[in-house]
């Protein structure tokens, strides 16, 4: 009697412990989803829903009445109005486009230069990093506005006026204007490169020193080392920095467009309002994404020396394989021929065949 109960209990226990295959990984997947679930809710609530809604807004003219919002479907009306008849939007977008396309490379080249200087065996590395990172902490729209209103963002010693005068003599207006802007707002450009300097610096420190030594033994100059070792190694960081710079510039409050969008949103005029501002935001976002894609294409599309060499080697290997196959096939063919001839009894040895 007792035996049976023990046996039964053991049986029950056995069944309980029997785990289906894949159950652990499924449980793990569910736990992972629980961990990520705040993000999923957030993405629906604060990313996907607003995206869809703002697209719907962009197709409407919205008037706010005491009863509620009054939607009036206008189709692409908002977009055509922005692109064709808004006196402010297009000039601002063009300004933004030109200044971004110029200042992103300038900021990144500058950051790379500073990072390479800091990467040398110099003293006071810490204090220098501290100074170069300081602007990241304190820079904000109003602070920047205050400083530029007081003329503190252009160093008088640089004599920006003379430089911009000289530039405008050589270049057409649409190019000269943004370039001289760079010189007058030199400090802003410098101030925006704090994070990039640190990213480049930590990337440079991770490059294997033995690579440079090997290059030196082979007689490579520092210039060659820079192009053939440093740049290919930090290529992904250049992309990262460019994207970061674009995002930073486009979200920054000294950017006139986002102020324009905010003003359009709260404007009481008949044609502006939420719908108009949403359409503006869509056009603006499209421009930003396109700029990011452009930089990504420019940087990742360019193959460096190693990639070119690797491609060459791969091509050569493919060719070799093909010839090897060819030779194999020919051998097989010859062997068949030989066998046939042997069957017919024409000759008995390989030498004869030759």
């Amino acid at each position: 009697m007792k035996d049976i109960t023990v046996q039964r209990a053991a049986k029950v226990k056995k069944e309980k412990n029997k785990v289906k295959r894949g159950q652990l990984s499924r449980r793990k997947a569910i736990t992972g989803l629980i961990f990520v679930s705040p993000w999923i809710i957030g993405a629906i609530l604060f990313l996907i829903y607003p995206l869809v809604t703002s697209f719907w807004y962009a197709l409407n003219n919205i008037r706010i009445t005491p009863i509620g919002k009054n939607f009036n479907f206008v189709g692409t009306g908002n977009f055509t109005q922005i692109l064709l008849s808004d006196p402010e939007f297009i000039p601002h977008i063009v300004d933004y486009l030109v200044s971004t396309l110029i200042s992103v490379p300038v900021i990144n080249v500058f950051a790379l230069m500073i990072a390479m200087m800091l990467n040398q065996r110099i003293k006071f590395k810490g204090p220098f990093r501290l100074i170069f990172f300081l602007p990241v902490i304190i820079v904000s729209g109003p602070v920047m506005g205050m400083l530029s209103a007081e003329g503190a963002v252009s160093v008088s010693a640089l004599n920006a006026q003379a430089i911009s005068g000289a530039i405008s003599n050589f270049l057409p207006y649409y190019l000269a204007e943004p370039i001289s802007d760079i010189f007058t707002n030199m400090i802003m450009i410098l101030w925006y490169s704090g994070v990039q300097i640190l990213i480049f610096l930590s990337g440079l420190q991770k490059i294997d020193k033995s690579m440079y030594e090997a290059a030196k033994i082979d007689g490579g100059s520092q210039w060659e080392c820079f192009w053939k070792i440093t740049l290919p190694n930090i290529k992904s960081l250049i992309l990262l920095n460019c994207v970061y710079t674009v995002v930073y510039i486009s979200g920054n409050e000294s950017n006139a467009i986002i102020v324009l969008i905010q003003r359009a949103m709260f404007s009481g005029t008949k044609e502006k309002g939420y719908g108009y501002a949403s359409a503006m935001a869509w056009v603006y976002s499209l421009v930003v994404v396109l700029i990011v894609l452009l930089f990504a294409g420019l940087i990742m599309g360019r193959k460096d020396v190693y990639e070119r060499q690797a491609k060459k080697v791969r091509k050569q290997m493919k060719k070799d394989r093909r010839t090897a196959r060819k030779i194999e096939r020919r051998n097989a063919r010859n062997a068949r021929k030989f066998k046939k001839a042997e069957k017919k009894g024409k000759f008995t040895s390989y030498e004869d065949f030759e």
Binding site: I34, V36, P38, S140, V143, E150, A152
Partner: protein
């Protein structure tokens, strides 16, 4: 060429001199190092020039401003500018509210982003790659595109003009720059050795418990980095703060130092009207004092936690891949 004409002894010296100046294979030359130091120092000076200008101007009296012989050093340590700027900005109230507006979402950010980063780093589940791709893409997307519906949503559920407008997205991992924090935690939690967590699980600890007891204590630097950056970026953001919390016309009771600075001139004239005493009209010095006051807390924070700020990039693992 020239060296060959001179005597052999001088030739040697000249060679040595050249080596010293231009450097050899294994030692940098003095010339190059001086050039680097000069460049770094001059660029460093340009970096802090606006701050020096700001601080020195903020101490000047009106006479100092007008006196062309005084360029950098004010004639006396004059604190009246600061007093007036602080009064017109309502400094203590704005300061406390700034701390709350930047601090609470930061705490939420730290918690939620750690949770999400942990989930992404340590578990395999379908659509993980998609989620990571969306996180990166949403970083590129400007805030403006989601701003208007969010504004409408907030006004519908009645949290516009309250701190909830910042806390709610932060809890759900959608705060300002939350994508960066999620990726920082993602990288950090990937570094924790699997054996550590498995050991905890063998001891009978659940997934969530092992996250709390094992993973969080071993990633304190990540928490500090994320906390500091989140605080600084919330503090400095006046665009979205005005939009969601303080209101564009400051109609809600909330305000922050940066928003006060944005409306500094109107605030100052308002203050000048209410204060009956004869006070000087708004000038450069008072503007600069206001600016200094608004960034002073961040400067203190930076100097105290400089190590965490400067090493943040190394810790974040951006360069690790």
């Amino acid at each position: 060429m020239k060296i060959s004409n001179k005597g052999s002894l001088r030739n040697m010296n000249k060679d040595k001199f050249r080596k010293l100046m231009l450097g050899s294979k294994d030692k940098e030359g003095i010339l190059k190092m001086t050039l680097i130091y000069l460049l770094l120092i001059s660029i460093g000076f340009i970096y802090i020039y606006p701050i020096l200008h700001m601080v020195s101007t903020s101490f000047m009296t009106l006479d100092d401003l007008l006196d062309s012989s005084i360029n950098w050093i004010p004639s006396s340590l004059n604190l009246s500018n600061y007093m007036q700027a602080a009064k017109s900005m309502d400094f203590w109230k704005s300061f406390l509210q700034s701390v709350i507006i930047a601090g609470l979402p930061t705490l939420c950010n730290m918690f939620s982003c750690a949770l999400i980063g942990y989930g992404l780093a340590r578990f395999e589940f379908p659509f993980k790659k998609v989620i990571l791709a969306i996180i990166i893409f949403s970083f590129i997307l400007p805030d403006q595109i989601t701003m208007i519906p969010t504004y409408v949503l907030y006004s519908n559920i009645g949290i516009l003009g309250t701190i909830w407008g910042f806390i709610l997205p932060a809890i759900l991992g959608m705060g300002i720059n939350a994508q960066i924090y999620i990726l920082i935690f993602y990288y950090f939690f990937q570094q924790i050795p699997n054996a550590l967590i498995e050991a905890a699980q063998v001891d009978g600890v659940g997934y969530f418990q092992s996250f709390l007891r094992v993973s969080i204590p071993s990633s304190v630097p990540a928490f500090i980095t994320v906390g500091l950056f989140s605080f600084v970026w919330y503090w400095n953001n006046s665009y979205l703060t005005q939009m969601y919390v303080t209101g564009v016309l400051q109609e809600s009771g909330w305000t922050t130092l940066v928003v006060q600075l944005k409306n500094f001139s109107s605030n100052y004239s308002e203050y000048a009207v209410t204060a009956n005493t004869t006070i000087t009209s708004l000038n450069e010095s008072i503007n600069m004092s206001g600016t200094v006051l608004s960034i002073l807390p961040l400067l203190v924070l930076y100097l105290v936690f400089q190590k965490y700020f400067v090493e943040s990039v190394d810790r974040s693992g951006i360069t690790g891949e």
